[in-house]
């Protein structure tokens, strides 16, 4: 073994060029792989800490007013789990009037886990004292001061403490419920206690909760999981996903998008796919250089075998050589990559954290505005080296190298020692044509023959030359479409398409912003566009099977556990009703947009054409259809040219039963409207009636004039306002507020801060991905230089013979440049072919997995042309540089 190592080391020192080429290839690949891995890892760590703040610092919760709790308190540790912390929450009472309120007592651990800190005063000590957060106190209609009193369910309570707000996501889970904290002794005889458990996070928490349940005899099914944190700490049973996936594979309705979604918790699959692509790229780079150097040395291995070295030792020597380069190369690369990643993360770490944008659609609360501001971009935390990624990457690449070594050894074993010594690889078919008969110049033939003499090597080199560019183009493609999708969802789904919004928050058709009031806004200076929106609720029959997705709505799915929204059922008789075997009637939002907004809607076009003039002239409408969870839009068989029969209340201020569309015929009017276009999203939305998240409702969109003409609607529900660039949005919002102050209930919101935050966030994200792809491209270009130089170096003997035979320096350089050009052209062709395949896959994923809106952005032609030209230019340049360095040496040196 010692001899093998010595021989391997001697080889490395002797074949300096090969060693250097492999070392550089490994260094750069490792740098990229481990650097990106650490960026993702740091982002994930920061996201975990942010989730802890948003969801509370606990993993599982269960009801605990049972005897096992006493056992647990006496002995809180057991086999297979380690409880780091636990807190108990006791719900003493719940009332629904005047608001939904829970009276809660929480021990100090619970308060700590939930981040409920005392800002002022003390925790309740007496039975008539309460502590709550400022938001709750405001909602209860009392001032946020100690000593304020409030009557709840006939009892008077005094505020003794003001707390910080409950974790944001818990508030969302609790929904309308507010919490007031009471003293421990308050007991209405209806106490329910819940224990919140935090396990040791250094190992997966799911097996721990299972062990916990077994130890104390608790039904594991009664545990609720902290969904925000669980993905980061192994909170879900990995075996639970397998049956789901197996089921999905059997059911064509689910397919790859669904499986990807199941596995892609916290972007694990997305990041995994990126890292895998980088790992494959690295593997190709290393393989292409390594294969050439091994084949070149085949004769020596065979000489050693002739001298009696066994096959196993040859393989061991090969592996030893590789590892001797790999270990320092990979370590140095990891240091390099992580240093670069550290610097990048310090600058723009926030972009690596998955961020949920709050949606605003006209009835948002002010608190959300603050959450979305620049100051509230998630905290990037500190940079963490992702050791797991470094380990996995190393193991992957070592495995690749060992497989390559093994395959090469196998290949060598197929040849006789004589064949190996003679460099005869046993190729059967060879082109035996005599080229000098027809050609004056044989250097071209020589170049081609050199290139194609080892097809495996040639393909390896081509792949490694083109994969970097493919990843770059793929990244540019995804980045372009991500930007487009972000902008589109930003405007449509998040409702952040305009700086200021004025709206009526109620669900009464009577409450509108009068036309005259809206017209006043036109006179305010600094406003760029004022886009008022009219609204009416309607119903459209979908007959004879034209509605293809009955499972889409809870009302028609008939699925257990998938129940219709009781409020929608109560107020509007649900969003859809089935009237026959294949007949349905669906509630629709009918919007009237200004021309400017209709023009913006063109970005969401699925088919047809949006022309406000023509719409007014021909009284045509735009049909906004449904989108399913896999990005499909074919749920309703209505498209351009079809006619929609829409039923609307005859009285545009109708209320109550009329809006259920169950009243007598005279309460309604019916109208047939021709569809001019279909779109995927609405822009300004009204979600105070049947709701509108953008993809789960059918909308009919027309011009404001048509709304008045067809239905008699003249008032506006919302007004979207954009301010000029140089204008202070806050001051403009104040102006708008003043102008609309007389409109009852009208709310004006300034979203410019959130828009600024979102833009900053998205731009940083885009910049990062562009940056990563540029680094990748740079590495790929360095690899091209490395590979080309190596290709020259490994044939330096042949070139020296040619020089001895009389080829001029210029002739040799020309020959090398031609070879480089050929490599570049072939690499570009391979790149185009691979990219065409990759683009199709990416498009599928963008549409069906990530639900991108209209990913129509193609890679800029300039980029494609640039890359196509860059490859040959670089290859030729690299070849010539290597050729020049060869020419500087004497012929005899080889």
């Amino acid at each position: 073994m010692k001899n093998i190592l010595r021989l391997a080391f001697a080889n490395l020192r002797y074949y300096k060029k090969q060693t250097a080429a492999l070392f550089v290839g490994i260094l750069l690949s490792a740098g990229l792989l481990t650097g990106v891995g650490s960026l993702f890892g740091s982002g994930k760590e920061a996201a975990k800490e942010n989730a802890r703040a948003e969801y509370g610092d606990w993993h599982y919760e269960t009801r605990c007013d049972y005897p096992w709790m006493e056992t647990f308190k006496k002995n809180p540790q057991g086999k297979g789990f380690k409880v780091v912390k636990y807190g108990v929450e006791t719900v003493c009472k719940a009332i629904s009037e005047p608001f939904a309120i829970q009276y809660v007592y929480g021990d100090s651990e619970y308060m700590d886990m939930m981040g409920r800190k005392l800002m002022d005063g003390s925790y309740p000590q007496k039975e008539n004292e309460i502590a709550a957060d400022a938001q709750t106190l405001r909602n209860l209609g009392i001032s946020e001061e100690l000593g304020s009193t409030v009557i709840l369910d006939g009892e008077t309570f005094t505020v003794c403490g003001i707390l910080t707000e409950m974790p944001q996501k818990i508030r969302e889970i609790l929904g309308d419920y507010m919490q007031v904290f009471v003293c421990e002794t308050l007991d209405y005889g209806m106490n329910g206690s819940f224990v919140y458990l935090k396990f040791d996070e250094s190992r997966e928490v799911y097996p721990q909760v299972k062990a916990f349940a077994e130890t104390y005899g608790v039904d594991a099914g009664t545990f609720s999981r902290n969904n925000g944190l669980s993905g980061f700490v192994g909170g879900e049973s990995s075996s639970a996903a397998l049956p789901k996936i197996a089921g999905a594979l059997m059911d064509p309705a689910y397919g790859i998008p669904w499986i990807w979604g199941v596995l892609n918790e916290n972007q694990a699959m997305t990041e995994g796919a990126v890292l895998l692509a980088l790992a494959l790229f690295s593997a190709f780079i290393i393989y292409s250089i390594f294969q050439v150097s091994v084949l070149k040395r085949m004769a020596q291995y065979s000489v050693m075998q002739t001298l009696g070295m066994p096959d196993g030792s040859a393989a061991a020597m090969l592996a030893a050589e590789l590892l001797m380069i790999f270990v320092p190369g990979y370590c140095a690369g990891a240091v390099l990559g992580n240093t670069a990643a550290f610097l990048l993360y310090r600058k723009a770490g926030q972009i690596f954290i998955t961020r949920n944008t709050a949606v605003h659609s006209g009835v948002d609360i002010k608190a959300n505005a603050a959450i979305l501001s620049v100051e509230n971009l998630p905290d990037a935390g500190r940079f963490c080296v992702n050791w797991e990624n470094i380990r996995t990457g190393a193991m992957f690449l070592i495995a690749v190298l060992l497989i390559v070594s093994f395959l090469l050894m196998k290949k060598m074993q197929k040849l006789t020692l004589r064949q190996m010594i003679a460099g005869d690889t046993g190729k059967k078919k060879r082109d035996r044509r005599i080229h000098s008969v027809k050609r004056e110049n044989l250097t071209g033939v020589l170049t081609r023959r050199f290139m194609f003499s080892r097809k495996g090597t040639f393909i390896g080199v081509l792949m490694s030359l083109s994969i970097g560019s493919v990843i770059f183009l793929g990244a540019v493609y995804v980045t372009g479409n991500t930007r487009m999708n972000n902008e589109l969802t930003f405007k449509a789904d998040d409702g952040l398409g305009s700086d200021i919004q004025a709206y009526e928050p109620t669900d009464s058709l009577k409450d509108t912003i009068p036309q005259e009031a809206a017209e006043k806004l036109e006179g305010i200076s600094g406003l760029e566009t004022v886009m008022p929106v009219r609204y009416l609720l309607g119903e459209v029959p979908l007959e004879n099977g034209s509605f293809r997705w009955p499972e889409f709505f809870a009302e028609t799915a008939g699925e257990e556990g998938f129940d219709p929204d009781p409020v929608l059922m109560e107020k509007y008789n649900g969003r859809i009703v089935q009237t026959g075997e294949d007949d349905y009637k669906i509630k629709v939002n009918i919007y009237g947009y200004s021309d400017a907004m209709l023009e913006s809607l063109s970005d969401y076009l699925l088919e047809g054409e949006i022309d406000p003039e023509q719409m007014r002239r021909e009284n045509t409408v735009i049909f906004k259809t449904l989108m399913d969870g896999q990005g499909n839009y074919d749920g309703i068989d209505i498209g351009t040219g079809d006619t929609v029969r829409v039923k609307t209340p005859a009285d545009t201020e109708a209320e109550g039963e009329v809006l259920k569309f169950l009243g007598s015929d005279e309460s309604y009017r019916e109208q047939e409207l021709k569809v001019a276009a279909a779109v995927s999203r609405p822009l300004a939305k009204v979600d105070s009636f049947i709701g509108d998240t953008g993809d789960d409702c059918v909308d009919l969109i027309m011009t404001n004039e048509q709304m008045k003409k067809n239905f008699g609607v003249s008032g506006y529900r919302t007004i979207s306002i954009n301010v000029r660039e140089e204008t202070d949005a806050k001051a403009a919002a104040d102006e708008v507020r003043r102008a609309l102050s007389k409109v009852q209930g009208c709310i004006v919101r300034d979203y410019s801060v959130q828009i600024e935050a979102q833009n900053l966030y998205l731009n940083q994200q885009i910049l990062f991905f562009m940056g990563i792809s540029a680094v990748l491209l740079a590495i790929s270009l360095l690899h091209i230089l490395n590979s080309m130089q190596y290709l020259v170096a490994e044939r330096s003997y042949e070139f020296s013979v040619l020089r001895a035979m009389g080829i001029t320096d210029a002739g040799l350089l020309k020959m090398l440049a031609k070879e480089g050009l050929r490599y570049g052209i072939y690499a570009s062709l391979a790149l185009l072919l691979l990219y065409a395949i990759v683009q199709k896959i990416l498009y599928y994923f963008m549409i069906h997995v990530y639900l991108y809106l209209h990913p129509q952005a193609a890679v800029p032609v300039g980029y494609v042309i640039g890359i196509i030209l860059l490859n040959p230019a670089l290859c030729a340049g690299a070849m010539m540089i290597s050729g020049k360095s060869l020419l500087r040496k004497g012929i005899l040196q080889k």
């Binding site: 005869d424 005599i434 000098s436 004056e440 110049n441 040619l802 320096d809």
Partner: protein
């Protein structure tokens, strides 16, 4: 008429304590059509001398004049072209292009000269003369050592050079093939009136040449006959 004059050639490799004096004041001349053997022990400087004559290396001191041109004074490109047109090489390890067939290997040096058409009749004659015409579509690794050396010889002759430099051309061959190749060299020298300088350490082969130049420790050894005719 003299085709080659070697005048007071010195060749020193390395510097200071690593200095090796490979050739010391070597002087001799060669007439057209001569077949000369350069003989010496291993490390005596015979291959160095051949490389200097071939322009593959430059002398530290002295002149090498071929057909009236001092090759040490030629510029790089001029030297390359001069070498291509006037000197043919035959190496001990054949040095054929593994990716070209025999015919193309032979024609290759001719194609380096722009505007110079490959004389296919001549190549055909060469290949037939050397007995490898039927192997013309084979690749080097498909031939025996003797056949490869014949190919190398054909390649050296393809440009009709005035001078052929052969460095141990039979070093890798068995006795009968050695005799064959020697016969071919002599035959070429006679048929095309070419001058051949052949490095060898085989005394018997040297005896078959027109003249022997003996080199020892970088000098022409006059004591042992120096130049023997």
């Amino acid at each position: 008429m003299e085709i080659l004059q070697v005048k007071h050639i010195h060749k020193i490799y390395g510097e200071k304590e690593n200095e090796v004096h490979a050739l010391r004041d070597v002087t001799f001349s060669v007439k057209i059509g001569e077949f000369i053997a350069i003989v010496g022990t291993s490390g005596s400087g015979k291959s160095t001398l051949l490389n200097l004559i071939g322009g593959l290396d430059t002398p530290t001191q002295g002149q090498i004049i071929i057909r009236g041109h001092n090759i040490a004074a030629l510029r790089r490109k001029e030297l390359t072209i001069f070498r291509r047109r006037n000197i043919g090489f035959v190496f001990q390890n054949y040095s054929l292009m593994p990716v070209l067939n025999i015919y193309d290997n032979v024609a290759l040096p001719v194609t380096f000269d722009k505007g110079k058409h490959v004389d296919h009749d001549y190549i055909c004659e060469l290949l037939k003369g050397l007995g490898i015409w039927d192997k013309r579509k084979r690749f080097p690794n498909e031939l025996s050592g003797g056949q490869q050396q014949r190919t190398a010889l054909a390649r050296a002759l393809a440009n009709k050079p005035a001078l052929i430099l052969a460095d141990e051309p039979t070093g890798n061959l068995d006795t009968s093939t050695t005799v064959e190749v020697m016969g071919l060299l002599k035959e070429s020298s006679r048929r095309y009136n070419q001058t051949i300088l052949m490095v060898t350490h085989n005394e018997a082969l040297a005896q078959a040449c027109d003249r022997i130049i003996r080199i020892e420790d970088g000098q022409i050894n006059c004591a042992k006959g120096g130049e023997t005719i």
